[in-house]
Amino acid sequence: MPADQTIAVHLIQKVANQDRDAFSQLYDRFSSLVFTLAMRMLKVRSDAEDLLQEVFVQIWRQAQSYSVQRGSPEAWIVNIARSRAIDKIRSIRRMERSFVLTDDPARAESSDNVESSAAESEARMAMNSALANLPETQRKVLELAYFDGLTQTEIANRLAEPLGTIKTRMRSGIQRLRDMLGAQAV
């Protein structure tokens, strides 16, 4: 296990014993990671800040449930953040469908903004990043799922492609990521 991962595991174990100093250090290590992900997924700063706070409150309360067998600290924390962000994204969609000014052009624009935001993030990517090394079709489906919380069926509908095609692209993209991760580990 890499040294920084060992330190993070140790901090989580101390947080499980309600150690506020360890919690502060854990926050300093991972808050930028969670906030960056939250901004990419929710797109509104105040929502991302709320999510950041909620994620760390959950970490404080559930640190004792973490074990190395559940994955790296980073994967565990990111999984908490993504789950909560996806809940929020999906609740926005439910609200839009049910009662929130569905004919409001500003909101309609925001829900259509997904691809333009993806394009912005693409522009910010470092040239050697994992996303930049994926073919366009694979990157797009992974981004729509990972950052925008769309399910395979929703992506198929949005891109007007057969579900089987979407699944294949997702799996190919994930396989490439696995290969990249393997290459990094060597």
């Binding site: 506020r20 901004m39 797109k43 706070q53």
Partner: protein
Amino acid sequence: MATGHEHWHERGEIYALGALDGQELKEFEAHLASGCAICEAYVRETREALLLLHRSITPMTPSPSIKTRLFDHIPSDKVAPLRPKSAWRRWPIITGTLAAGIVGAILSGTLITQRYEPRHSMYSAIIELLRDPSTRDLPLYGAGPTPKATGRFLWNESGEGHIFVTNLPAAPEGKMYAVWTIAQRSAPRYVGTIKTDAAGQGGLHINVARSDQPVETFAVTLEPVGMTAGPTGPMVLVSKPT
């Protein structure tokens, strides 16, 4: 890797991505719940690989005030360490007796303070809200399972507000009434849980951080206890007629 699992691995990858849905999701969750260690490990490995995705984004730093706010929310649950036993161990008995006497003397005053002071503070806060010309006063309309419920929402963009409800029956066992503010282009924001009495009346004072966008809709939904990430249940009150 064991054979016969390719079928599950296909689903496991999409599950780890969070994109599996419908019947496939139910089947895969049931498969995981059956205790398949191979698939559990495969999902875990896939999640590690997916970490490469967010590492591709330019990192952003949150405002330092978030950490301060977070630590304000974290209770100091640590139990004070026990003092070591010593020759002074009788002192607690003596001081305890004295303390009991003092407590007895001030008990009634304390009870009065505990009972009435919070209420007085809340009334003062509501008056201050009403005094502020920028505070909005919005009617709430019954919806879904509680069409007869009504309410009012006082809201100031500073993040302070108060909700009053009437004719809202107590939440069933295992459920709660979650209060949400919804700003344009934002996710519904959980701002508290409101309880109602036998007469269906209740109130909640709200004090949260200011939102970037002005709140345009206020709502109360019936949620499973603890669900604060986003509304999932039926809406029982809303600030605009549906």
